[in-house]
Symmetry: D2
Subunit: 352 residues, 4 copies
């Protein structure tokens, strides 16, 4: 098998944009790299980026929150013991914070939540993790917390280092409600004339489609805390191009497109509460020079305060998602347009 071993998998990549961006973490015009087999994504996101440059402030990206989590599972004899244990855990908060701070230069324990089901106690530790997405950092820190808890809190036994109340790479409700990853909102207000000329649609038709398809259609399908057309496509492409753990698109793609008709303008927003991203850590190391070059080209290798580069990346990602969402939604307001553009684009060889 030797000859078949580690070889790069050639997902084709292209830079699109630049997107014009403002907000509480990053401003200016930025190109973004998209690695995907779905090549119609490139012109689609490019069309959205074009719109962003036609509007003065461009896309406004607001970082609302950030944290990374791991929930351990503890076994007890019954709910009274579980309640006593979680009370003791909260009381030991300073010691637990110290344990975490010793486990890593960057990990900090910032909150604790829990669930009790019968005799089972799920404790969700919430951390800040600097510029890393933090999967390993929080597992390592939680390992230390688990050791300490087993040694100091009576009546609890090891259940699992991960009890799925975290929850990683799963579409659940807990991440959006309690927070996991970066919570970012991207917004763009588009004059009606631009809608008409560049998107071949109107604010009214975009708003109507969003209500019917994204809100009602997803709800009828049994969707969970999600209402969008295709966040997953943009996330996958930019995650692959920037060395993220792309399986996190599962929860990352849970987000809400909300639109409003404001006078003659279209207000178009994408809220992404669960973006697990980082600029350091796995996927960014030795042997992946290409990822490194992409991060440098995106301006995310500048010396900044810990966490600042990751926040910038999150804002760029949310803006990229908005561009692709805007473009596809516009296409779907017109009968036949989606298919025609796919046909036109895919006749060109995918990686040509």
């Amino acid at each position: 098998m030797a000859q078949r071993d580690v070889v790069p998998s050639p997902v084709p990549m292209k830079w699109v944009g630049p997107l014009r961006l403002s907000g509480n973490v990053v401003t200016g015009e930025h190109e973004v790299p998209l690695a995907t087999y779905e090549t119609p994504l490139w012109p689609s996101v490019s069309r959205g980026a074009k719109i962003s440059r036609l509007v003065d402030e461009g896309i406004v990206a607001t970082l609302v929150d950030e944290r990374m989590t791991r929930s351990i599972l503890l076994d007890t004899d019954g709910a009274a013991d579980a309640l006593a244990a979680i009370t003791a855990i909260h009381a030991a908060r300073p010691e637990l914070e110290a344990t975490v701070a010793e486990s890593s230069r960057f990990a900090r324990l910032i909150d604790i939540h829990h669930q009790i089901a019968g005799n089972l106690l799920f404790v969700r530790f919430e951390y800040s993790t600097g510029d890393a997405s933090g999967h390993n950092m929080v597992t390592h820190a939680s390992d230390r917390l688990m050791e300490r808890i087993l040694a100091t809190v009576p009546g609890v036994r090891y259940g699992s280092i991960s009890g799925n109340y975290c929850s990683d790479k799963k579409a659940t409700a807990v991440n959006g409600i309690l927070g996991r990853g970066k919570n970012v909102v991207a917004e763009l207000t588009i004059p009606g004339a631009i809608c008409s000329r560049w998107l071949r649609t109107t604010p009214e038709r975009m708003n109507e489609l969003n209500i019917r398809k994204n809100l009602i259609g997803t709800m009828l399908a049994g969707g969970l805390r999600s209402a969008n057309a295709h966040y997953a496509n943009m996330l996958l492409a930019i995650y692959l191009a920037t060395g993220q753990d792309a399986a996190n698109i599962v929860e990352g793609s849970q987000g809400i497109t909300h639109t409003e008709v404001r006078g003659d303008d279209l207000y178009f927003s994408c809220t992404l509460p669960n973006l697990i991203v980082g600029t350091v850590g796995n996927g960014k190391g030795a042997g992946l020079e290409h990822i490194e070059r992409n991060l440098v080209a995106m301006g995310l290798r500048e010396p900044r305060d810990p966490g600042e580069n990751a926040r910038r990346l999150a804002a760029m990602i949310a803006a990229t998602v908005l561009c692709g969402e805007l473009s596809l939604m516009a296409a779907q307001t017109n009968p036949g347009e989606l298919m025609q553009s796919h046909i036109a684009l895919e006749r060109t060889p995918a990686a040509g």
Copy 2:
């Protein structure tokens, strides 16, 4: 921007296995390629594959169903019109089937479902699509159906070519309940002695962990039709290595790990009802020779009945998921093991 344009994104890839496989679509021993930045996945799946070879029939993969869908959205004046329209659509089934058959050599209309919400009518067309995952095939066929319906059914107006009741790249309930993609179950029955020696655990501890973490933990997190530890990781890696539209891991990773203690043995199963996969189509064309070589090496370029190669791939994927799930679950039955193995593995350069 020219110099930055289309370049391959080097996600590192490695072959693991072979997995021993039996069932209703494919048998024998098979290596599978995994492209991922999360390199600990390689030894993890390999450990599961090793177990599969220690059991005579290996992993049994059963294909339960297959179909691909697209739901259009029609606008009407009210529910009475919507009801009349869907009645007319069902009555025109033979004509609609003919329209689909004319749209493609492979697409066939096999079922129709719908939802009415107020005046909105969502019609979910279900197709067989041969060896393709079928995204474009069903969009194209649905475009034709839309045209025909708008021309022949009174009282309906174009809403959207996709109404999100499909639903593509979103974690919803409809796909598992009505079917979308391949529905595959992978099962492995492991003697207790093998659990003990190769997985450092017991059938009882595995079963207990599955109930507490995957079933109860996911439910507490507000999960939806899903109960597993990390299907998304294996799916991403094999999707990237075989040219799939990897954003489909969003719904693909909704699946249920079910275990039982059977005498001294562990029954371990992974049910994946929403696998969107194909061996032809996007991601498999010109300029992606590496994908082509992988498919050849997996034995999926043999001349077979339409759909047969895609079904084989789906069975291999489900078996791969089982291997990775089994290995991680076993690690989590032991305090500290998960972190220790990550540390050991990641000290080796990721792509070294």
Copy 3:
């Protein structure tokens, strides 16, 4: 304990309306009885009923579907056996239909769906049940089907007469997607002048509130196939007053309020896909003369085709839900109005 035994529980009841109604099962003006401790519900529904009488066709109620279900659970050795079993069950459809028809004068088997998870097979039998809600009828029929299947289908063992894939008195996705109970849409188109005079609001504000609160707010809360303000209140009250199994408000209250601004008018609709109701059966028998009198007064004791009275009741219930939903939504468009009306109403003794 004898003196404490069976005594009537005095939930206060009042007739409200009449509601003006049209549609595919019942027309005319109808009063409806509401039994509730939440007495502000009476004037709230009355206000909606008033609006319905100001519009020529009144509330249009469209019955979209009806069926009652029970899902049995079968245990097998593995998915291949489960697949063989469900194939055999589908092949025996005529015999199963005959078994059901023998079990009851009214029960008829109309469809079968299933789920396979590992070795477990859930079979969801779908029945028509005449004028009964059918809880016992379908349990009895499924008991007979279970017996027959255990006797004739190889490789299956008894799991449970109910496998929760039915699903009864639980908020799930399956009922709305596959159908359970009556699926009814109630619609009312209200001129802007009536909105302004009688609801102190405008079509635009109602529509905006519906999008933000019912669609987006519920989605953020992690709601499931549901977007409404308070269907549960009206359902409880009319279920208690007409002898329904009121625990079925759990799934009955999953429904979608959809509004549109149509020129100067407000289109207001309530879609209730899971109404479990009947005019015969439990809660309607000896010793419950009051229920009987209510059903007579509602015109639901006329000799009609089997199922016709139950369908009329379902339409009246959906219309009642619309009246209460409309009124509360209107109140919430105005700051302070909700609380002021509660205070005004509850100063009057609840059952005075």
Copy 4:
């Protein structure tokens, strides 16, 4: 219509038990009143109560948390304004607490959570409410908070007094994750011999059924944070008999039955995180003497610290739910038993 106006609705009521109870809020043996049209519920709960008396400590009910919530909806121009507003709201916490304390003798603001979706800000106020379930108390307090926020926080406009992120009488994820109502766990450990004699089953069969039906079956059905057989039945009956707002069974019935085989014993637990109940307030006032008598007979009219009687009621309710759940689950382990017992019981006139 005068003659038809307010009349008591005769839901038949019966006392069952006594249940033996211990835990952190109430101990001793207690009868509970159940008002229901589903009369087989009486012997079913009685059977569970009988089991509780055969075990020394009886059912252990642990109150884990309590709070009542209302989420207001604020409109802003964009996410940056929404973020600034929620920051200001958190900073004004002491003033907001004072505002709430002035609004009521019992309401206290204990926590604040929020969600931002685009320009929309949902603020979830969490309160303690003494012995009342608190629907009106928290609406009133939130009205005052809304007034204050609109007057003092720049950039926000009235959206709705309830934004459905509360969320009341809806099955959502937020209530279980952030808390709403009483969170109670009821547990009973039953020796195998008692299982066998009184429940005609074994710990192993009960545990197996719970995993397959309640955990897996509900998950396949697309259930949400819920895994039980029929909590809604017991909740409805005791809510009606004690004057609760019974529409709250919608979220109240979201709960998890968790079982374990412990040596020869069965550990059986019911976790109910969303019990909205009170011993004062609506449904308990003038004209409802029967409710008053029931509360007196349950020992819930003793002078105790504020909230103490409501907590006792919550514990009794959770224990009652356990009794009914235990009994039905046991019946379903045996083919045919459920139907036979229904037939036997319902031949007796329902209210005879």
